[in-house]
Symmetry: C2
Amino acid sequence: MFQALADQTRRDIVARLVRGPASVGQLAHPLAMSLPAVMQHLQVLEACGLIRTEKVGRVRTCRIEPQVLRTAEEWIVRQRTSWEQRLDRLDDLLAEQPPEHGSTP
Amino acid sequence: MFQALADQTRRDIVARLVRGPASVGQLAHPLAMSLPAVMQHLQVLEACGLIRTEKVGRVRTCRIEPQVLRTAEEWIVRQRTSWEQRLDRLDDLLAEQPPEHGSTP
DNA sequence: CAGATAGTCAAGTGGTTGCTTAAGTGTTCA
DNA sequence: TGAACACTTAAGCAACCACTTGACTATCTG
């Protein structure tokens, strides 16, 4: 999942799809690489559930699936907040216990 | 930066450091891999600013640097919210303009 | 000082990734 | 029907990644 977002091209695709669904060709057009390459990126994104694709006639339409974006977000928030909570606990400890020997002279 | 978080071992290290600073050895201990391997992960994490390390005597202490964690979080939030805003605008359009020909029968 | 400790450097390796080209497959339209 | 279109599949390749081992450098401890 972070693996999928690790690639700049894939992040560009996500950023594009956030503004609305698009076909494979539309996604490929600004991307300076061959169509099969784009397809492979789309497969990675779909495999981890970041996007959903559906083929109608000969055109495959891709749209974003924001729940998985939340999963990644939540992991980061969890790390950040537990770091902040640790700092809070440290503050409390330092406030309760006055310095005992010259650590803050 | 997402590249750095793409690796499970590196996420484990971040999750460990969030609970407080640790030495290279302490980080390596639960990790089923050689010390140099851990060092390489730490270099990746430090290169993208996710952690900061400092050597005192013969032990190097690593601590987390949560600002960069925020950067990643912000990118995700930006994508998610602009997707939600697009949905809102769509809702508005659909509410204003009554269906004209059989799209919602 | 000698030995143990904690980490570092360098080189190499096997597997994965991100691309490419070439040759299909199924759809649409004149 | 047949040519154009929008992908899709497969094979191959160069670069990168996560590791390893082995040798090395400081730093502490007895």
